[in-house]
C-alpha cells in the first residue's frame, strides 16, 4: 500500500499531526491530505458550522493553527466530499485524522477510523473500567461519556486541550488519583510527546490515535 488519504475535519495540511507519522513515511507511504474546512475562512467557519444546543461538539484546527469549535452534524456532507476526492486521487485507503464516531459514508477503499479502533481495544481490555479519557473541551464531555456508558464502561473525563497545551499534567494526575485502568487521549491533536508525558506521570497504558494510525498502516503495508 503506498498512497494513503489523510482526511481532517479541520483544514489541511495538518502540519501539527503529519510529522508524528514520519515513521510511516519512511516505509514508503505517500500521504494526500484533504480538509473538510479547506474552502472556508475562519470567520466563515464560525458562521456556518458553530454548534447549537444539542449538537455534538468537535474541536479542530485551522491552517494557521487556530483552534475552532464546530459541530459534527453540519460537516458530514463535507466529509463525504473529501472521501470522494481522495478516492479519485487513487488513494488505497483513507485515514480519518479524528477520534470521532462517524456514520457510514460511501467508500470503495478501506477507511481507518482511529477512534473506533481504539474504543474496540479498550472494550477488550477493561471489562467495565473505569477508564480515564482526556478530551479537548468541556462541551464534549456529555456525548463522549454517553458513548462509553452505552458500552457499559465507566469513565472519568478530564479536559486538557491539545492545541493550547494547557492542563495536561493536572489531567494526568487527576486520573492517577481516580485509579483508572487505562487512559484514552480522545483527540487527534494529542502528540506523541503528550502521550509519553501522561504515561510517565501515571504508569498506566495510554491509548492514542496517532500511534494507533501508525500501527495499523504498518500492518497493512
Amino acid at each position: 500500500m503506498k498512497k494513503v488519504g489523510m482526511l481532517t475535519v479541520g483544514q489541511a495540511p495538518r502540519t501539527d499531526v503529519i510529522p508524528d507519522l514520519d515513521s510511516i513515511r519512511k516505509l514508503g507511504f505517500t500521504f494526500i491530505e484533504c480538509g473538510v474546512l479547506d474552502k472556508f475562512s475562519y470567520d466563515e467557519v464560525l458562521e456556518k458550522f458553530s454548534p447549537e444546543a444539542g449538537n455534538k461538539v468537535l474541536i479542530t484546527r485551522m491552517g494557521d493553527g487556530r483552534q475552532v469549535t464546530i459541530c459534527w452534524e453540519k460537516i458530514y456532507y463535507l466529509i463525504q466530499e473529501c472521501i470522494t476526492y481522495l478516492e479519485s486521487e487513487n488513494c488505497e485507503a483513507i485515514v480519518f485524522l479524528s477520534t470521532g464516531d462517524f456514520p457510514e459514508f460511501e467508500h470503495t477503499i478501506p477507511i481507518i477510523e482511529p477512534g473506533d479502533l481504539l474504543r474496540s481495544i479498550t472494550s477488550e481490555l477493561v471489562a467495565n473500567g473505569p477508564i480515564g479519557v482526556i478530551v479537548a473541551d468541556q462541551g464534549q464531555i456529555e456525548h463522549i461519556k454517553q458513548k462509553w456508558s452505552s458500552k457499559n464502561i465507566k469513565t472519568v473525563l478530564v479536559v486538557a486541550s491539545p492545541y493550547t497545551g494547557v492542563g495536561l499534567e493536572k489531567a494526568a494526575q487527576a486520573l492517577l488519583k481516580a485509579k483508572v485502568k487505562l487512559i484514552f487521549l480522545d483527540g487527534i491533536g494529542y502528540t506523541l510527546k503528550m502521550k509519553q508525558k501522561v504515561r510517565e506521570i501515571t504508569g498506566l497504558p495510554v491509548l492514542s490515535p496517532r500511534t494507533m494510525i501508525a500501527r495499523i498502516l504498518e500492518e497493512m503495508e
Partner: protein
C-alpha cells in the same frame, strides 16, 4: 518504565519458535513474553489420542514443539488452557494474550485476557465496514463455522483453505481465488500464518493483508509502550 510481562498461551506446545521471530522486533524492548502451551506435557501420540476433534464440534489446528501439525478438539483443550492462565498469573504476568484466533467460551482470569478473535474482528470491521474481505483458514472443514461467525458480525467474506503448517505453494494456490477488485482486505485467520506467508499472499493478490500475530503485537505495543 520497566519491561511489561506479557503471558502468551498457545493451544499447541510452547515455545512457539515459529511465531516469536516474527514479533520480537515489534515487542522489544518494551514487552517480555512468557509462554505456556496447553499441550506442553503431552507427547505427539498422546495428543493424537486424547485431543482428537469430535465430528460436528469446533476443531483447531496447532503445532507441536517439533513443528508437527495436530488437529484438536476445542472442548478437550479448555481445562488445559485454564491451567495455563493460572500458571501465567502465578508468574506475575500483567496481561495474557491467547496465541490463537479461535473463539472460546469465557475463562476465569484476574489479569486482562486478550482474545484475538473478537479484537481482530473489531479492528477489521473498523476498517472495511461490511466488506467484502477474503479469509484464509487452515482447513476446509473450518470454513462453514468461520463464515457464519463473520456473517453474524455483519461482514461479507470469501473463504479459502490452506494450512500454515503445510507447504507455502498450497497457500499461494489457494489465494489466487482472491481478486483485488472484489475484496477490500485479506485476513489470514490463524496465528500460525507467518510474515513470509503474508508477503507471498500480498504479492500473489495485490491486496492489503492483515496478519494476526503482528497485528496483536502492534496492539500490545500501543497499550504498553
Amino acid at each position: 518504565m520497566g519491561k511489561t510481562k506479557l503471558g502468551a498461551i498457545t493451544i499447541g506446545q510452547s515455545p512457539r519458535s515459529d511465531i516469536t521471530p516474527d514479533i520480537s522486533g515489534i515487542l522489544e524492548p518494551h514487552l517480555e513474553l512468557v509462554e505456556c502451551g496447553a499441550l506442553d506435557n503431552f507427547t505427539y501420540e498422546e495428543v493424537v489420542k486424547k485431543f482428537a476433534p469430535i465430528a460436528g464440534e469446533v476443531s483447531f489446528v496447532s503445532r507441536m514443539r517439533d513443528g508437527r501439525q495436530v488437529e484438536l478438539s476445542r472442548s478437550k483443550l479448555l481445562p488445559f488452557i485454564q491451567d495455563c492462565i493460572v500458571k501465567l498469573e502465578a508468574m506475575q504476568c500483567q496481561t495474557i494474550v491467547m496465541f490463537c484466533t479461535g473463539e472460546f467460551p469465557p475463562f476465569k482470569h484476574h489479569v486482562p485476557l486478550i482474545e484475538p478473535c473478537s479484537l481482530l474482528q473489531n479492528i477489521i470491521r473498523g476498517i472495511v465496514g461490511q466488506g467484502p474481505i477474503g479469509i484464509l483458514v487452515p482447513t476446509a472443514d473450518q470454513i462453514e463455522g468461520i463464515k457464519n461467525r463473520w456473517s453474524n458480525f455483519g461482514i461479507e467474506t470469501v473463504l479459502v483453505a490452506a494450512s500454515p503448517y503445510d507447504s507455502i505453494e498450497k497457500i499461494k494456490q489457494a489465494v489466487t481465488r482472491f481478486k483485488k477488485d472484489d475484496i477490500e482486505l485479506i485476513f489470514l485467520n490463524c496465528i500460525g500464518y507467518s510474515v513470509a506467508m503474508k508477503e507471498i499472499v500480498r504479492e500473489t493478490t495485490g491486496c492489503s493483508v492483515m496478519l494476526p500475530r503482528t497485528t496483536i503485537a502492534r496492539m500490545m505495543l500501543e497499550i504498553y509502550q
